[in-house]
Symmetry: C3
Subunit: 437 residues, 3 copies
């Protein structure tokens, strides 16, 4: 079990620290669904893994959608009569309504207010707002800042461009023994937001980095894409190959301290659903499982009825359950190395289950075989662990009739997958079990 | 949604008042499973809808049963030595054991007692008793009246007739776009009893009356029949056409103040079951669902194994859970206009679900379509209702793959049917959704 | 219902007393998986039923196993320096590690300790230990006795033999109307242990004895075998005939005062599972049902995937839930005649359900038949029992459509099997119901 080797070799918190470091590095960049912020992000990821960069021209039709104009921004501010920048993009890139068209003019407070977005319930936080498909401009600011503004003339400036260009995304493919693929997808289109965006980018990057060092049964495809338009584009360009995707996870919100939350694939009973449920039950204290619903992240596209891919979404706190979501409070204090590391481990255990899950056939199906004469009978029959291992062998023998995978056996016996897997391998060595087919 | 127009147009309590008025008019009549009381009842119903009257001769074999002799009654009493009517049919028609053979003679109290029916637990109430298939005579009276009787000679008189004649029932058919039928059936064979009988008669009458004003997808068949022998007769005479019945409800006990109670069809998972469960869950505060059992009203016959029709029974309080059942206490005070009106509304909402339930096909099944460019994206995305409508569209799109009806989608999304139905119609208008062929 | 005749004819506690008497008689014998103790046991059982004795030679291959050498023992002891027997096989045969090789020599306490087995948590109890497949010797003793031993030289003697011989088992076959079989299997290989062994032996013996007096629909096969190697041997020798086994129960731990516990067959939804669950629910106050797991008694072999027979295990307290299990405390005080008798009754009721369970076809499937004209309408319609019997008839009529057995009908109606069975027989007599072909 190659992945289990990684798990064992990890120094506690080491990966969490590495992930946090990457989040910190990516944090200041102003990203959007297109533009140089996204490209810079991929360049930094390329310091860890050899991501291939794809560029799709503005105007390309992707199913029902069209790739939009490319947006870039250099600066933005609101100055008061004294020429002081009272709102400054350089202090927080959240201040600009993402995808704002360029503007530079004098404006009264009254008129300016129509372009403001605030969060009255959280008066110190700056909201994050976008307007990708409707051309307008605006500023996001804290309610307190808003209330402090005097009636006077202001100078507003958004030094942005919205022009024909490209949509950019990154793809990293790891070839395994088998052409069957596991898809790991994250959106990387948000500016300075840590949990909803960068935590997923970091987890995906390090998963790719660590898996690239070992041999795997499955091939892996890692996607760093802008939300919605990115997955729509990728699915459109790769439509003929999606049948290779046997399992998939959308990575988002994995850096906060909440319990794990798994949103099932649309199928609801795919192997990925079974694997994540098993791992959460046996390896994570507190967790919640929710049924698929057609809202959220890119699983919406992967699970659209024309694809219906077995892709779930494994998060910690879902986006609609933490108030910091899409605000300036989703910052470098909100995510922690320990949480990131724990999320990484959980993803790795899930992939370990998928890598090792298989169906075997009991070669001695009439009555139990005599374990003792093969040295499989526990030498310390009273030790709890020995008993569990013996019981695991009996379960594997009893259910390896061509109907049950190891994961099915783990679920029916209520034993952790690794115990069942170890028992199966002990039996394989004696020839009592053989591969199915 | 034509039925929803009715629902909107109803003035609160208006229909309830109309129904109560009809109950009051029918209350004094002495009905039985045959005879002129049943005919008079149908005549009064004909003031509202053009019910067709059927007459089946005594002796006709209907499956395992035979149409009995026709019973009619003019008067009945018990007189004491002073010639005073101490029990008088003209005061309450419940006093006579329904289907009593004629009798007129002097009799001692001791012998008379063998022909008495009382309710010791409710000493002021007169019970309702029948003897359709065993020829005898008897009187029902309150326990208190019974205890007040002195040892003396009495004169008993039942001026009834039991002769060859007919069994009468009423049928009202509303032609819809489609020959597929919805059956609404009530028993109308009880004398002065309001909840168990007349409430169902009134609801069925007004349902027919209101539906006759609109165009419907389904055809509707309304039956006013004597219990058991009536449904047996109708099924026997119409055996070749019952396959047209796609959904059905038996109406009974809909005038009391209890919560709604739905008894499922024998199939248990018919569309009528799904529709009523959905409506009770989303539109009625308190309710109970019980599995089919082979006792109760005419659903016993419709759900006999040789027919197994998708017919349930939607009541308020079931007959065995209110003590007034089959007693003089089930009177004009026990049922109320408000309760009748609320029951009417609930039936109408159920029919609205059936009328509108359909399967559609998402024409843009690969990824989500872009709702914004079609004006379907909520203009007020923060409003709860807008969000629900958008979510409803996403659900309809996601599940309209040829496997789910709108009602299935409403159930899986846990949204009310009308919200899902409205979303589907918005999508139909844009061509994103089409009828399943 | 012939079995119900037995049930009615049993004098309370009579069978329990008889069973307890047999347990007492068998208690002193030193049994093992082979040897004369097992033969003597069968001889005593033969005083009740004509068990056929089978002998399989040492060295016979039975699937993955080999019949071991035969073990016999005459005496065993540990003497102190004064020549006193401080551990004496004649006082308790549990003192000897079952299957100990012969030994006779002087030995120091220190060396002797390596051959001791005690139960520190229950310092007065002697444990029961075996070493069937690894040749060694040992003594089992109470922790208190162990602590009282002085440092001195001891004389140990185990006068046993381990030589080529036979494995012995008993089989009793009762021919019924039908070659389809019900298997009742118990292990009889434990020495002086009452609940885990002799209670099952006694119940199996008396079940066979009582059933031999009546005519049955099924044939019955009763097995008295050594655990594991016995069922493996029997299955190997009878492999071609196991398909005749339609239902089966492994009998163990039926003499203690705990609630009934049923361990389902591997199939989980076999008719035996349905029957036992029904009986426990309707006829036993307190009980527990557990899913199959591949550990326990001989159901492990019957339910191995190559056989997957519909065999469950009906116990009172399972072996791992009473501390007396496999200790000297599982003695004649631990089991009681009342508990044994109650277990016997429960087994008999289960067999009564299996004997009578069948599928019938309603001959009047369109609408209900008229029960009254056939004298099936309750004469006392207000009596609760009459109502239940009428309801049972309606259930049987409604569900006898070729999809439901009587047991299915009992489960769906939530009525006890005997009520449903009686209703079915009343309907059979009138011709309203016929056997399904």
């Amino acid at each position: 079990m190659e992945i289990s080797e990684i798990i064992k070799s990890l120094r506690p918190n080491r990966v969490g620290q590495e992930m946090y470091q990457l989040v910190s590095e990516l944090y200041p960049i102003c990203r959007s669904i297109t533009g140089n912020g996204f490209r810079t992000t991929l360049d930094i990821i390329r310091e860890h893994i050899d991501v291939k960069i794809h560029e799709i021209p503005t105007g390309t039709n992707v199913f029902d959608w069209t790739v939009p104009k490319e947006w870039n921004i250099k600066d933005a501010y609101i100055k008061n009569l004294h020429g002081e920048r009272i709102i400054d993009f350089k202090i927080s890139n959240l201040h600009v309504l993402n995808y704002s068209v360029p503007i530079k003019r004098k404006i009264s407070l009254n008129e300016l207010k129509k372009h403001f977005y605030t969060l009255p319930d959280y008066p110190d936080w700056i909201p994050y707002r976008t307007s990708y498909y409707q051309e307008k401009w605006g500023f996001c600011l804290s309610q307190n800042k808003f209330l402090s503004l005097k009636e006077e003339e202001y100078e507003v400036c958004i030094d942005s461009s919205l022009e024909d260009g490209h949509l950019t995304y990154g793809e990293y493919y790891l070839k395994g023994e088998n052409p069957d693929e596991i898809l790991i997808s994250c959106h990387a289109c948000h500016p300075s937001l840590c949990n909803d965006n960068l935590s997923g980018v970091a987890l995906t990057t390090f998963l790719a980095k660590y898996l690239s060092n070992i041999s795997t049964r499955y091939s892996y495809r890692f996607l760093f894409i802008p939300g919605t338009i990115g997955s729509v584009s990728w699915l459109c360009l790769n439509e003929k190959n999606v049948s290779r995707i046997k399992h998939g996870l959308v990575v988002a919100c994995v850096g906060d301290g909440g319990k794990f939350t798994y949103k099932k694939s649309r199928r609801g009973n795919a192997e990925i659903d079974q694997a994540v449920l098993h791992v959460l039950k046996h390896y994570c204290k507190n967790h919640e499982v929710i049924d698929f619903f057609p809202y959220g992240y890119d699983e919406r596209q992967y699970c659209s009825p024309g694809f219906n891919l077995p892709v779930g979404c494994l998060m910690r706190t879902p986006h609609d359950r933490f108030p910091e979501y899409h605000t300036s409070a989703d910052d470098l204090n909100f995510v922690k190395p320990d949480y990131l590391g724990e999320s990484f481990d959980t993803y790795l255990i899930v992939l370990g289950v998928l890598e090792n899950n298989a169906m075997y056939i009991n070669q001695n199906a009439r009555c139990e075989p005599q374990l003792g004469k093969r040295g499989l009978y526990p030498s310390m029959p009273n030790k709890e662990e020995s008993m569990m291992n013996q019981l695991a062998m009996l379960w594997v023998l009893n259910l390896s009739d061509g109907e049950y995978t190891l994961l099915d056996i783990a679920d029916r016996s209520n034993l952790p997958f690794n115990v069942i897997n170890n028992a199966a391998h002990a039996l394989l060595r004696t020839g009592l079990l053989k591969n199915s087919v």
